[in-house]
């Protein structure tokens, strides 16, 4: 049975069940889980790193981390929450590794925009807008709006208070809206955490 057909057979099996079987050594269950979530892992890495090649490297590291660490998933949270945390950490680690390595020149924005997988991103230059965001804002926005994690899940994944998550998301969205031309809408008002005092 091919991995694709096995994944199809297991399409109705919840992630938690597959994770439990994978944790017990069921390689087919682990393969199904990885196959099922590889695109989401890649999307997280792609949006956090903003570079297709780095994103693929980070995706591979995240997949390996999931395969090795599946025994540590305790089923107390949603599997995807744990998965996105692993993917986020892999992406951030890859970004730090890249930052330590000297680069002759920065990749031109056109090169990234020319990637065929970026048909939508090229038009709106999402990568460029995300790159300009501070890392903590970028991660928070990606986890909230791409991965659909709620504040509590993001707070658990990042190890910060929910209020901090809320603030980071608000500021990140606002900055993104401004960078993307806002598409005719007004930027988000600052939250009480970020509003300047004395005005």
């Amino acid at each position: 049975m091919t991995s694709r057909s096995r994944a199809a057979d297991e399409s109705g099996t919840p992630d938690g069940d597959l994770a439990a079987r994978a944790s017990a050594g069921d390689r087919a269950a682990l393969e199904t889980l990885l196959e099922r979530h590889v695109d989401r892992i890649h999307a997280v890495c792609r949006r956090i790193l903003g570079n297709p090649e780095d994103a693929l490297d980070a995706t591979q590291e995240a997949m390996i981390a999931v395969a090795r660490g599946i025994g540590r998933f305790d089923n107390r949270s949603a599997f995807t929450t744990w998965l996105y945390r692993v993917a986020t950490n892999a992406a951030l680690d890859e970004g730090r590794r890249k930052a330590r390595r000297p680069r002759p020149v920065d990749p031109p924005a056109e090169a990234a925009a020319a990637s065929p997988e970026d048909a939508v991103g090229a038009r709106l230059d999402v990568d460029a807008a995300l790159r300009d965001l501070p890392e903590e804002f970028r991660v928070a926005v990606v986890l909230r709006d791409l991965c659909d994690l709620d504040y509590a899940e993001i707070a658990a994944a990042l190890g910060v208070p929910p209020g901090t998550v809320r603030s980071r998301i608000a500021r990140g969205r606002s900055a993104l809206a401004e960078a993307l031309g806002n598409r005719g809408r007004t930027p988000e008002r600052p939250t009480t955490e970020t509003r300047p005092t004395g005005s």
Binding site: R46, L56, M63, I64, R68, A119, R144, L180, R183
Partner: protein
């Protein structure tokens, strides 16, 4: 894009902008295969380690338990022993010594336990090992008239000795027992024949 959202609400418009197209099949398969290959041997090794470590620990514990039980049994028996046993041999009446259980035991009590004879001064453990090995390799079975003191109890215990000899340890008379252990190793237990207590325990190898 964001200003009219209630708290903790996903921004669908931004979500659509952040979406990334799916990977092609070749890349997906390569990523999955590499992850499985990388994790496979390590997971196998961890499972093997998880099995071997407890097994080794159990084996060591079993050997230690056997030796410990033997020593404790002898010690307990000695503590609850008779006044005659606690008296030095010189203080015992000649008749009493002759009728002591050890001395009165017949050779059947030690049947199957090889006597390697007199080993001399066994205070030095390495010398004791050498002598025991030499005697086990070369000495013919001895025909001791009566089994030495403490041997009967040792034979009744578990594990039962496979061989025994006599000697002195710091000028005190001792009984040397060869006990079976793991693999090709045996354990030597040196008992003070006046108290039947172990004074030394070590590997024969």
């Amino acid at each position: 894009m964001t200003d009219d959202l209630p708290p903790d609400e996903r921004d669908d418009e931004l979500a659509s902008l952040l979406e990334v197209p799916p990977l092609d099949d070749g890349t997906r398969e390569r990523l999955v295969t590499r992850a499985l290959d990388d994790a496979g041997p390590r997971r196998g090794a961890r499972r093997l380690t998880r099995l071997l470590v407890p097994a080794a620990a159990a084996l060591v514990a079993l050997v230690l338990f056997g030796v410990g039980v033997f020593v404790l049994v002898n010690r307990d028996e000695d503590n609850a022993g008779t006044a005659a046993r606690s008296r030095p041999p010189a203080a015992a009446a000649p008749g009493e010594r002759g009728s002591a259980p050890d001395a009165s035991s017949s050779a059947e009590a030690v049947t199957g336990v090889r006597d390697v004879g007199e080993l001399g001064d066994v205070t030095d453990s390495s010398e004791l090992r050498r002598r025991v090995r030499a005697q086990l390799d070369e000495a013919p079975a001895s025909s001791r008239a009566a089994p030495p003191r403490c041997l009967e109890r040792a034979v009744a215990g578990s594990p039962s000795p496979t061989a025994y000899g006599t000697g002195t340890h710091r000028d005190r008379p001792v009984l040397v027992l060869v006990l079976p252990a793991t693999g090709d190793r045996s354990t030597l237990v040196v008992l003070d024949t006046r108290t039947c207590q172990a004074v030394s325990v070590f590997d024969l190898a």
